[in-house]
Symmetry: C2
Subunit: 455 residues, 2 copies
């Protein structure tokens, strides 16, 4: 079966999740990984170029605005959050040395001004000629909030703010019509005043006049990405998101999430296909199953118990587990204001498989709550295909265990298998991130569309 | 006289002021300029590479966070502020395609959070391996404030906030000691916990716990640049700035500003040489004086009267001049909350030279209040040398009238003349912006220095 014969077939969208040394918490200690990866820009360039050569849709950067050093002993054993690059600046730099791959950065609505954020991403979108995406997140009142004049960040209020924030940003991205700029030297008219729109936003959280001082880009505006899977998170996504990153470990959970979310879109006048669901996947690839298991075991062996316990603690709402026997069961947890859905994910996992605290943290330290696949290229392709073809995903956010090794394994071993099955592209379909993801071009609000109906 | 013989001599520092099409308000209409310059990243790359090849110390980007479209007819005739790149993202992108030139962006303390701003510039400093600079500005309550939940921005309060903002940023840039990161794979220790410092800032405007999640860079921290020349502005600069951009049109004014500012440094335990004064200069270069005058006249002819009037209006505190005869004198102006010193500059100029409104806007549209030099390479070098050797400047911020033409003229005609006189480098002295500017390395606050004495 030729690849060309499959071009009309629905294909997976793939993101490359960029941690400097790899997604595994102990990756930085692995022999394949440069210990200087966190602050070595060339390491990131190599990652981006490899992902682009392999035709990934996008690079994705997570983020946090603080250093949680309450447990400094554990923190000092990991390379995360302590000294890396900030995502918007990093992706801007990478935009100059790549030409096709999408660039998606996380930024919180809790600690930024919508005008600034709209402008940073619009500018990145211009710099990259239509390859920017913004992963909208909200933040809880933990360590990050202490860096921003500590404020009320209860779950409901922060989503109310996020909803309004998204409206302001989307509104500012409509400041200029696509053909507003005339650049007519002869008449001396640079733009058409009739195609400039002032926002005049004034509601509960924000008063923002506009217009934005950045033009629309070749993809209209940056792709809006989200990851929340609480009830309010899913409603915000159904109304505004174009890509949703999720963490489901089983096909059943993935199908339930996928169909639930997609069913919400028509209520906002949107087509279910206007939003792509891309669960995270942590693939450990071996030429044989034994090789894959050995690779994974070698990484797991590098996890210091202090790190495992601290990681688990943050994932269940900063609940201190150090007083409980590490080989005993997970205790009952108080409700957390942090990511509710994530806490529940781990509690369910521990109960379902009767895991001890140590067993639970070992599960988490690799995939960090995401779907973990340890196996051969065929096994991994089988699992991805099953989920993709059975209403569980539109694609995947690939989280390489180590960099560059884990990324190279996926590119050299799994992608050829997916291509043989006609499940992944051999060449980019479009010039912009939006085109490659198969998302509709957002028409300017001056010509009403369903997108803006919620205002 | 060989260039080598002059290496020990004090030399000028030079910045290249990057407007997309050039500093002249009508530059975009000039035949040498691409009308797409504002959003053509490759145009900026060419500028940066040319300035780097010519050994400029730095590229400088001004900024504003809004589109002042109250006079949309005039606005639609200029290319500024309406659709360009945001400076932090643009310089991050340029950091990937340059290796030696400094990258200085303007960002306001009035509309940003100090943690975010400290992080963006620290990240740019890492990406560029020690070439970042932050031009700290404050903003008045004009058009920009309307994009940020309009707030009190009276002159005194905004400088009080700016002072505290600078302390927070400098404090966050000291979160990690220079040798904090061990990256020891064997022991599994990534950093030394004793070399991580929490800020615990809490004063009038900000409560910021820290630490920052970006490490110190090869230059310690980004170079702190300022441009305020009011009384409170000069005090803030004397306490914290390492470079000051200014606008003095005469040698006498430049000398007065220079000696006044430098004399303030010892009060803060600083050496006068720890701060470089770099006035702006707008050079129109011709191989003959007549050629230079012709070049300038050709640009002036491209200024539409609507543009000239509107530009003058913004420079004198948004005072509407359209009701006054354009060939009559400048009326008396009410005191403005905008840049006080800039308003006074233009009033003084008009009175001193008995200029009509039209004559005044024609003066401003070129140099925009900066020092204007129209002449041969020798004449321009003479003027720069006079000011440099007579206590008026440590260097200059060069504002090319057009890009690339005006920049090329300065590089190909004026720089060789300055080099013949031993006044400008032929090769970079250091790897970092700080080294090239001859500024001291900021020792980490854990070892007390005079810098931090004000806290």
């Amino acid at each position: 079966m030729s690849e060309r014969a499959n071009t009309a077939k629905r294909q997976m969208k793939l993101g490359a999740f960029m941690y400097p040394g790899g997604h595994h918490v102990a990756a930085w200690r692995h022999p394949d990984v440069s210990a200087k990866a966190t602050t070595d820009f060339q390491y990131r360039v190599a990652f981006a170029k490899a992902a682009e050569a392999a035709k990934f849709d996008l690079i994705f950067l997570a983020d946090g605005v603080g250093v949680g050093e309450s447990n400094v002993a554990a923190l000092s054993r990991v390379d995360e959050w302590s000294n890396g690059f900030e995502p918007i600046t990093l992706l801007s730099a990478l935009s100059a040395v790549t030409t096709r791959i999408g660039l998606v950065a996380t930024a919180s609505t809790s600690f930024t001004e919508p005008f600034n954020l709209a402008r940073y991403f619009a500018s990145l979108d211009q710099l990259s000629e239509g390859r920017a995406g913004w992963n909208l997140v909200t933040s809880s009142d933990g360590i990050e909030a202490q860096n921003f004049n500590p404020r009320d960040l209860q779950h409901t209020a922060r989503y109310a703010r996020a909803n309004e924030f998204a409206d302001v940003v989307l509104g500012l991205w409509n400041s200029w019509e696509d053909d507003a700029f005339l650049r007519d030297k002869e008449s001396g008219r640079f733009f058409d005043p009739a195609k400039l729109h002032v926002l005049h936003h004034k509601r509960t959280y924000f008063e923002v006049r506009g217009p934005l001082n950045v033009a629309r880009s070749p993809q209209g505006h940056p792709v809006l990405v989200q990851a929340g899977s609480s009830e309010v998170g899913k409603e915000l996504a159904a109304r505004t998101a174009e890509v949703v990153f999720t963490a489901q470990r089983t096909l059943q959970d993935a199908q339930a999430f996928y169909s639930d979310l997609k069913a919400r879109l028509p209520r906002y006048g949107r087509n279910p296909d206007d939003l792509k669901v891309m669960p995270g996947v942590f693939p450990v690839v071996g030429r044989s199953e034994a090789e894959a298991q050995d690779k994974f075991a070698a990484l797991q062996d590098l996890i210091h118990p202090e790190v495992g316990l601290a990681l688990l603690s943050t994932y269940i709402g900063n609940f201190d587990l150090s007083v409980y026997p590490v080989d005993g069961p997970l205790p009952d947890l108080p409700e957390s204001n942090a990511s509710k859905s994530r806490q529940q994910l781990f509690v369910d996992l521990a109960r379902r498989e009767n895991l001890s605290i140590r067993e639970l943290y070992l599960r988490i330290a690799g995939a960090r709550g995401h779907w973990q696949l340890v196996g051969t290229p065929v096994q991994i392709a089988d699992a991805l295909e099953e989920r993709f073809l059975n209403g569980g995903a539109d694609g995947f956010n690939v989280m390489p265990p180590t960099v560059p090794g884990g990324l190279t394994d996926f590119i050299e071993l799994v992608l050829p298998e997916l291509r043989r099955r006609g499940l992944f592209r051999s060449e980019y379909e479009g010039r912009t991130l939006r085109e490659n993801l198969g998302l509709p071009f957002p028409r300017h609000a001056a010509r009403p569309t369903s997108r803006r109906a919620a205002e």
